[in-house]
């Protein structure tokens, strides 16, 4: 005996309620309705940016700790004249570039073997080792590295048994880059994996049978076809890194600040909303420009926004 399933009944009920709340006549606006939350969110963001824009044009009066009534470009002049900000901005950009390159180099083979492996348990192992650190927050993970790599940490303790060290492995720029790469790896793998899944394995077989070695197949077939995933993960990793705050705080030892740390300092340490806003907006414009250039160079089609053939 087949009965009308309870889930169908529930769906009918939901549809009936939806029909009451959103009558048929309004159906051609349904698209807009679904867009509403996104529009509201973006609207809030724009409002926030406008507010910061206004604030960035006002100077802090240190006698009253109020912002000036008049508009001035003094905060922006500060950014240009004080070399600290240029240094910090360049450090963020340099680190973001380095972290992006290293992360992609490590993430690609990881994603590739995860997708292509024939062994189910190996795929599970790779997935679990990818997700386990994913569920541990960035700050906790950074502190974990302090425990592992510190002067009295696990690695130095082991080295001491071999009569080596102790080595200074934390509170340095390399340790900061290391921590960031480790943090970004899951994001990159998760963005690259679908792109590799979308590449028909027969293309690789075909390339080989046409005379290409593994390396040439990688260069001429796999990498070009995985480009959407590579570009997406490059954009995500670059943006997350250039705006990172926690890693420099925890692993940077206080002398490797990124631009977000400078923004924090301006807002919360010297209570200068104007300077903080100017810095934050500069970061937004700078990072967006870099990402736009990146996407421009890679071609607009790289995010899969073009018709694809043969339903692949």
């Amino acid at each position: 005996m087949s009965r009308y399933p309870i889930t169908w009944r529930l769906l009918d009920l939901v549809e009936a309620v939806a029909a009451l709340l959103w009558p048929r006549a309004l159906h051609r606006y349904t698209g807009w309705l679904l867009l509403l939350p996104a529009i509201a969110l973006v609207g809030l963001l724009v409002a926030g940016l406008a507010y910061m824009g206004d604030s960035s044009l006002r100077l802090l009066d240190t006698e009253t700790f109020e912002q000036s009534e008049d508009y001035t470009l003094a905060n922006y002049r500060d950014l240009i004249e004080k070399p600290t900000y240029f240094t910090v901005l360049m450090r963020s950009t340099g680190a973001a570039t380095l972290v992006t390159v290293l992360t992609l180099v490590l993430a690609f083979p990881y994603a590739y073997s995860m997708v292509r492996t024939r062994s189910a348990w190996r795929r599970k192992l790779l997935l679990v080792s990818l997700f386990l650190p994913f569920f541990i927050g960035q700050v906790v993970r950074a502190y974990g590295w302090l425990v592992v790599l510190g002067k009295t940490g696990i690695v130095n303790t082991l080295l001491a048994h071999l009569g080596l060290g102790p080595f200074k492995m934390i509170y340095t720029y390399p340790s900061l880059v290391f921590g960031l790469v480790q943090y970004m790896l899951p994001f990159a793998v998760l963005l690259i994996a679908p792109a590799i899944t979308a590449i028909d394995e027969e293309l690789e077989a075909a390339s080989e049978s046409l005379g290409a070695t593994g390396w040439r197949t990688l260069r001429h077939v796999i990498l070009p076809l995985a480009k959407p995933g590579l570009v997406a993960s490059a954009v995500v990793v670059f943006t997350l890194t250039i705006t990172d705050y926690a890693m420099p705080v925890v692993l940077g030892g206080g002398t490797n600040d990124f631009i977000a740390n400078a923004v924090y300092d301006a807002f919360f340490r010297i209570s200068d909303n104007g300077l903080g806003s100017a810095l934050a907006l500069t970061l937004v414009v700078f990072a967006s420009t870099l990402v736009a250039v990146m996407l421009g160079l890679m071609g607009a089609g790289t995010l899969g926004m073009r018709p694809s053939g043969r339903g692949r």
Partner: protein, 363 residues
């Protein structure tokens, strides 16, 4: 219970009874006592700091009044803009009492954010350092002083304490020294160690900046209060300029750390309590009572013992381990060795000094 509702007869009677019970500790000026809130929220620093105010001030306050104390551990710098925004928009502020650095409390006072505390009954009889400089009234009250000492690992200095801040420049300790990440607490010491005079601050601070620039090549770690305790414990540093409380915390945890006030002297500063504007009258009343209680001899004795810092109530006894310690000034000659910069100067120059410090350290 709706905290805004006008007093009714029952509340009044309860309040009166409570007043009778608390008269010996409070000494209130009113005959009738406003309704008690269920709880008050106090912003505190975590760790050692919270434990100290809890056992010293809050426990006895709750015992006396029945009002529970809840803590908000938001960083002082992060709470500040929220407080400012709340007061400006006439909303209820997020905390009833803010435990703050005197520098930050002064910033808020300059913006007229704090309630006047002039009528607290415990104010007369406090040390002069309790009174904020540059204000007619009491928009904040200083509660104890503290010294930015030179803390050191006894393993690195087994025989004698380093006698000068110049030890920070010794290549032997490269990468093993630490400062606050905003340079706070170090400027006057650096000024003197670099051959300048404290009285030249803020006009001429070349000596200070030159000294800090030299320090940069020593690859210092820069952090905040809990970092120093942690770094000493994990063997990451040998020397640090930090508030004595943090070094004392590491020592209590069994780490071989000691501290000294070098021959050049060390910066002394104060922390404060203040009550933000914008709360209902009865809560304001009890928030002020909390501050008043914090200034009492009994509360100061336990609170400041916990911190290892000299309170502003002159009657309290130093904790056993701080007797005769140069970082726990009690006598005039102790105070003479300490370096002070008026809070107003600090507030007005903070941005500039912070910028200079960052420029050197991030370069």
């Amino acid at each position: 219970m709706d905290k805004r509702k006008p007093f009714d007869r029952r509340d009044f009677l309860l309040g009166a009874a409570a007043t009778a019970a608390t008269l010996p500790f409070g000494g209130l000026a009113f005959a009738a006592v406003p309704a008690k809130p269920k709880e008050l929220i106090v912003r505190v620093w975590g760790g050692e700091w919270k434990d100290a105010i809890d056992s010293g001030v809050s426990k006895s306050f709750t015992a006396n009044t029945g009002i529970a104390i809840k803590y908000d551990e938001t960083e002082d710098n992060e709470l500040q803009p929220k407080l400012w925004a709340a007061v400006k928009q006439k909303r209820r502020p997020p905390v009833h009492v803010n435990w703050d650095t005197t520098t930050n409390a002064t910033k808020s006072a300059l913006r007229n954010m704090g309630e006047d505390l002039s009528d607290l009954t415990n104010l007369p009889g406090l040390l002069p350092v309790a009174k904020p400089l540059g204000f007619d009234k009491w928009p904040l009250v200083n509660v104890y002083s503290y010294v930015y000492v030179l803390a050191y690992s006894q393993e690195a200095f087994p025989k004698a304490a380093p006698d000068s801040w110049n030890v920070l420049l010794d290549p032997k300790y490269k990468g093993r020294i630490a400062l606050y990440n905003d340079g706070i607490g170090f400027h006057p010491a650096a000024q003197v160690a670099g051959g300048g005079k404290v009285s030249d601050i803020p006009k001429n601070m070349k000596a200070c900046w030159d000294f800090i620039a030299k320090l940069k090549s020593q690859k210092p770690l820069l952090g905040e209060d809990p970092d120093f305790t942690n770094w000493f414990q994990k063997g990451e540093i040998d020397l640090a300029c930090t508030i004595v409380t943090n070094a004392r915390g590491a020592k209590k945890n069994g780490v071989k750390v000691a501290w000294t006030v070098p021959k050049e002297g060390a910066k002394m500063d104060t922390d404060a309590l203040w009550v933000p504007k914008g709360m209902p009258a009865n809560e304001l009343y009890w928030a002020k009572q909390y501050v008043n209680h914090a200034l009492s001899k009994e509360a100061q004795q336990v609170w400041c013992d916990g911190l290892g810092l000299p309170g502003v109530n002159p009657g309290i006894k130093p904790p056993d381990d701080m007797i005769g310690d140069s970082a726990y000034p009690t006598k005039d000659e102790d105070f003479k060795r300490l370096l002070r910069v008026p809070n107003k100067v600090q507030v007005e120059n903070e941005k500039e000094w912070f910028g200079r410090f960052k420029q050197i350290m991030q370069g």
